[in-house]
């Protein structure tokens, strides 16, 4: 197993991930589907077990000891997220189910309140369906219009086209930080600055970037930043909406129920303050605790170290795949995360995926919930190998070997 330069000891890191030890189809598992979900370190699994074993109770309610423990664990996780994103205040961290729910929340609260007929929302050509459909739903309800920033053939956002789209009718910009299908990392600071110059708030979809790029919402100055815990090596079903306090405070609630209220009578309900206003009902307490453990884990490795190692893997992988004649990389941005999306001349992505699986290699094949992007590149699907900090150059070699097998089978 290769060890990266510096203190990044991949062999030791892999020991922390029990799932990576197994064999698939009689071959060592090579997990290259990290953009779909990350694997969980033992520390996250232990945190879940420990929570249910020693702390499980409902939060913010009972006077009993366990309830206090659960509340401390839940609010402690919120603080960890705040620190990880470098947000100003714990109250700006709302726990949700994931990126999709966070975007829907903003569309249905901020959107309904502030975006009307003829108003425009700017997204990009590389968005995941979860950053397209909630705005289309809002548009159907309010008459708002979607504007799409085009991209070039490398999969890079055309910033000058973006600037042209910003107009007095623009009410929100909602753009992905790192593309799930291409790996492109967008220049979010410039995107935010250009929007703010015109008084337009910006939501950044951090579903991918949160696990691969150091994120600092105070520096980027985005108004909303959303992500899912499971892509950050935490549990499924937990995610985060970061929003600037003054925006969150002015937004109407998303769901009604317990926890989000201050007082209820049959005549009138007073809502709770943020973050509780947006956390109706019993939340995924264990999930938030697991997410806190995942944040501890990656913070301990260091997001800068993770990003540097993954760039090393990406450079190696890009070089190896470029050597394969009948293979075309889709997504060749100068600034990109560790995603290798490709198509092959004679083999459909689904067939490639099946053959790689027989070699123990897990990749994603399909349209990656980004059909408009596939149309842009005139493909129906791609094969996507997405790398994480526990992957190795040997695993990229295994991928190359698997692709050789595809070529061999399809040239019979």
């Amino acid at each position: 197993m290769s060890t990266a330069s510096g203190s990044f000891d991949v062999a030791r890191i892999r020991e922390d991930f029990p799932i990576l030890k197994q064999r698939i189809n009689d071959k060592p598992l090579v997990y290259l589907d990290n953009a779909a979900t990350g694997q969980k370190p033992q520390a996250v699994i232990d945190a879940l077990v420990n929570y249910y074993t020693c702390e499980n109770s409902n939060v913010h309610r009972g006077v009993h000891t366990l309830s206090q423990r659960a509340t401390d664990a839940y609010e402690g996780a919120r603080s960890k997220v705040r620190q990880f994103l470098n947000a100003a205040d714990d109250r700006e961290i709302i726990f949700v189910r994931g990126t999709t729910e966070a975007i829907n929340l903003v569309a249905q609260t901020y959107g309904r309140e502030n975006i009307g007929p003829g108003d425009e929302i700017i997204i990009s050509a590389m968005e995941h369906h979860s950053n397209i459909v909630p705005w289309q739903i809002l548009g159907q309800e309010t008459g708002a219009i979607l504007k799409v920033v085009p991209i070039n053939d490398d999969g890079e956002l055309l910033l000058d086209e973006y600037e042209k789209l910003l107009s007095p009718r623009t009410k929100l910009v909602s753009i992905v930080h790192q593309s799930n299908a291409l790996g492109t990392i967008n220049p979010v600071e410039q995107i935010v600055e250009l929007a703010h110059r015109r008084g337009v708030p910006v939501l950044l979809d951090g579903a991918q970037s949160v696990a691969h790029v150091p994120v600092d919402v105070s520096r980027v100055d985005c108004d909303f930043y959303v992500f899912s815990g499971h892509k950050l090596y935490g549990p499924t079903g937990i995610g985060v909406l970061y929003g600037k306090a003054e925006l969150l405070e002015a937004m109407p609630p998303y769901q009604g129920g317990g926890e989000m209220i201050r007082s209820v009578t049959f005549e009138k309900t007073l809502y709770n303050t943020i973050p509780n206003k947006f956390e109706a009902g019993t939340q995924n307490i264990a999930g938030s605790v697991g997410l806190g453990a995942a944040i501890d884990y990656v913070a301990n490795l260091g997001m800068d170290n993770i990003a540097a190692y993954e760039q090393e893997l990406l450079t190696y992988g890009t070089r190896r795949l470029a050597e394969i004649g009948p293979l075309r990389l889709i997504g060749t941005a100068r600034h990109k995360g560790s995603v290798l999306s490709f198509v092959m001349e004679n083999a459909h992505p689904h067939d490639v995926g099946t053959i790689l699986d027989a070699e123990g290699i897990a990749v994603r094949t399909g349209h990656h919930c980004a059909q408009p992007l596939m149309d842009r590149f005139e493909v129906s699907a791609t094969v996507r190998a997405s790398l994480a900090f526990y992957n190795t150059k040997e695993e990229i070699d295994a991928l190359v070997h698997g692709i050789d097998r595809v070529i061999e089978i399809f040239s019979r």
Binding site: A347, H348, H350, A358, G366, S380, I409
Partner: protein, 149 residues
């Protein structure tokens, strides 16, 4: 023979490279679109049905080797058959790829037997079955695209 070799048999790959009846059928009197939203496979199936007999059949579309070969073999196997016989072939094919232990009359299936390897790959059964659902839709005269979901 490994599962993989059994799946990607030469005849299947040959149908994939040179699909039979891969064209638009100008005088079709039945037609349906099939779509697999999971992988984006799309197929349009054209049929000419006279009395109770499928006198001509053709298809167009994009998809993986399994879905393309399955569609190609479908056109061969149902051409000239009565609607009842086509239904029988479909039943036999369906059983072959979804119930590997079941008894199947391979003689009636012809080249389609080469798709039996799909049964070892549950994630690929939808690829193999897409053309057949589309056939059903075309015969039933359903206008909407059928999907595998």
């Amino acid at each position: 023979m490994s599962n993989l070799n059994e799946l990607y048999q030469e005849i299947l790959l040959e149908h994939n490279n040179k699909p039979r009846n891969f064209r638009k059928l100008e005088d079709a009197n039945r037609q349906a679109d099939g779509y697999n939203p999971l992988c984006g496979d799309r197929i349009t199936l054209y049929l000419k049905v006279e009395e109770d007999v499928i006198t001509d059949v053709a298809f167009q579309g994009v998809g993986c080797a399994i879905s393309r070969a399955s569609a190609s073999m479908l056109t061969q196997s149902v051409k000239g058959q009565t609607l009842d016989k086509a239904e029988e072939i479909f039943d036999g094919f369906h059983t072959m790829i979804t119930e590997p232990e079941a008894e199947v009359d391979y003689d009636a299936l012809g080249d389609l037997e080469m798709l039996s390897g799909v049964s070892a790959f549950p994630t690929r059964i939808k690829c193999a079955i897409l053309a057949w659902h589309t056939l059903h839709a075309a015969l039933a005269g359903q206008g909407d695209a059928v999907t595998t979901e």
